[in-house]
């Protein structure tokens, strides 16, 4: 909806976000408490990437609290007045609406820069305040006017059915008219919000795809270029490397087979994937890989990422450590899969790796993080390097 609360809760508790949205919506329509709850959650749940919740920050801001209190009082008074005028059904809305409004004010006051920018964007599109994209100002004003008139007519109808002994059918009809009025007023705005969300989701997917692609290119093309530089005095080896790389790139660009994608038809279990990594690295780098696999399980996208990161670690060891053998250990446990890649080569100082060396940061660390895993790299100059990769298995069949 507006604050990303449903998404946040779903990420925290593992419940589908749409179910949470539905619960909020039902409560909001029912007696208004869903609205208050939503705003409360907005206050308490920290935004992804932020350490403090809005509520925590708001407590430090007295002005915001005072303002919220004032706002809630005014609204409460207004609702009480309506109640006194005989609009009894409003009474049930007093508390949730007041609390919710107060919360909204606090949210607005204490939101961080990022959150404020987002809020401005959302509110700016509301027809009452700003202008909806793609509509002229006059059209918007006209639409809002029609909506207000229709909703007001519905409200009057509702009040009328309450005072007379009107039938339930009439009351329902009036309520329907109110809803239509609201739809005319806010419909396009809601549509716009939904569209924005979809666009944002697409953008996120695209960013992740880009990162995966960069990691793939690094693992194949950049690694090969590094190998070619190292064997520049051996023309035959240079030719061989270039040929192999060319074949791989062609297969990727024209046949859609990404390098090292662990072809789903051929590699169905983790142990098979390890065997593929082993033969690939041994073939391309002339280094013996001693792999030990304890347990096995079916392949998943996460485990493909784990193997790709592990292969990158093995390739690094083969290309840079100077060691003749690289040990690979992989253990499948009920809750996670761990992979260790170790060499007894020259080692390096992890703090002194220059920033343009993308292997460790992109192909190993970021790749693991993107798929929910972790990477730990220990290296002592002169003693060798060990890379530890851990990928949780949340949906493992136990």
């Amino acid at each position: 909806m507006a604050g990303g609360v449903a998404g946040g809760l779903s990420a925290r508790f593992g419940i589908d976000a749409n179910i949470i949205r539905l619960v909020f919506a039902v409560l909001a329509i029912g007696d208004g408490s869903g609205f208050a709850l939503y705003v409360l959650a907005w206050l308490v749940v920290p935004r992804q990437g932020e350490t403090t919740s809005i509520g925590r920050r708001a407590l430090a801001d007295r002005r915001a609290l005072a303002l919220a209190l004032a706002f809630a009082t005014v609204l409460g008074a207004a609702l009480l007045a309506l109640d006194a005028l005989g609009l009894g059904f409003v009474a049930g809305l007093i508390w949730p609406a007041s609390l919710g409004a107060a919360g909204l004010v606090v949210v607005w006051q204490a939101a961080s820069e990022d959150e404020l920018a987002y809020l401005r964007q959302v509110v700016g599109q509301a027809p009452v305040i700003g202008q909806t994209e793609g509509f002229s100002k006059r059209a918007t004003v006209g639409r809002v006017f029609v909506g207000v008139v229709v909703a007001a007519a519905g409200l009057v109808g509702l009040v009328a059915t309450r005072h007379t002994t009107g039938s339930t059918l009439e009351a329902l009809g009036s309520a329907g008219v109110v809803v239509v009025g609201l739809l005319v007023m806010f419909g396009p705005w809601w549509l716009g919000l939904a569209r924005d969300l979809a666009v944002e989701r697409r953008q996120r997917v695209r960013t992740e795809e880009r990162a995966d692609m960069a990691a793939t290119i690094h693992d194949s093309v950049l690694q090969t270029l590094a190998l070619i530089q190292r064997s520049s005095d051996d023309p035959r080896e240079v030719t061989r490397l270039a040929r192999a790389q060319e074949r791989e790139l062609r297969a990727w660009l024209f046949e859609g087979r990404p390098p090292g994608s662990f072809d789903a038809a051929l590699v169905t279990t983790l142990a098979q994937g390890v065997a593929v990594v082993e033969s690939e690295v041994e073939e391309s780098h002339g280094v013996a890989l001693e792999s030990v696999v304890v347990g096995d399980c079916p392949m998943t996208d996460e485990l493909r990422a784990l193997l790709a990161a592990g292969r990158e670690a093995a390739v690094n060891a083969a290309a840079w450590s100077g060691a003749a053998t690289v040990s690979v250990y992989l253990e499948v446990e009920p809750a996670r899969v761990s992979m260790f890649v170790r060499d007894r080569g020259q080692g390096f100082d992890p703090g002194a790796v220059s920033a343009d060396r993308r292997g460790i940061s992109d192909s190993i660390r970021a790749r693991m993080a993107r798929h929910g895993g972790t990477a730990d790299i220990r290296s002592v100059p002169g003693q060798g390097t060990e890379v530890e990769l851990v990928m949780p298995r949340p949906d493992a069949d136990r």
Partner: protein
């Protein structure tokens, strides 16, 4: 260890080239007192020369290393065996260890490493390659007490690994040498050796039928 005296080693392998290769690579701590290229001759010659350690190839006609170890072990339990193989098949590895070998190394092992392994076996310690450590972890992974048919014969002393033994095996499987394992776990090399020897004993004596079943299943993969 027998200080000052060179360890007497016997080679059993059906490939002459490999035997001469091993002879050339072994360090000065050991001397080769004989070699054989088939099972029957090996059993006879070992009984005659009584070496400290026998290096035996797993794969040979007429029963392979396992047959040699079983036959000699009955008559001369003091002779110790170190199995060598190009194969990493679980069934073969578990087979020679259960027959009585005190260790298992692959033929890609370097000369100094092989010499070190021979010295270790002569001392009564066990020699685990990363692959063997992985096999043991795999074979002892499932909780044996949970299998209904195993509950009757389950012996916790023999049929499961302690947490520390698991840690040691994991590090060996990751490619750590005994000394590095000791440093990593802040224990002495001697303690590492005794953990590995305890695991070897369990591997040899455990009646868990899962062990054999596991090895056979592994072969089917």
């Amino acid at each position: 260890m027998s200080a000052g005296r060179r360890l007497r080693v016997f080679l059993v392998d059906d490939h002459r080239l490999f035997r001469s290769g091993v002879r050339a690579e072994l360090g000065p701590e050991v001397e080769v007192v004989g070699e054989a290229d088939e099972v029957a001759a090996a059993i006879e010659l070992i009984g005659e020369r009584l070496p400290d350690v026998v290096l035996v190839d797993v794969h040979m006609p007429d029963g392979g290393g396992q047959a040699v170890i079983e036959a000699v072990g009955r008559l001369h339990p003091e002779v110790r065996f170190l199995a060598l193989s190009v194969s990493d098949a679980a069934e073969d590895v578990i087979g020679v260890i259960r027959a009585g070998a005190r260790g298992y190394v692959t033929k890609t092992i370097s000369g100094p490493e092989l010499t070190g392994a021979i010295v270790r076996v002569a001392d009564g310690d066990a020699v685990f390659s990363p692959r063997l450590a992985g096999f043991v972890l795999d074979a002892f992974a499932a909780d044996p007490a949970s299998a209904p048919e195993a509950a009757v014969t389950f012996d916790p002393e023999l049929d499961q690994l302690t947490g520390r033994e698991r840690e040691v095996l994991r590090l060996i499987a990751r490619g750590y040498a005994y000394k590095e394992v000791a440093t990593e776990l802040s224990i002495s090399v001697k303690t590492v050796e005794s953990h590995v020897s305890a695991v070897l004993r369990k591997l040899q004596l455990s009646s868990r039928h899962q062990l054999t079943r596991w090895a056979t299943e592994r072969r089917l993969l």
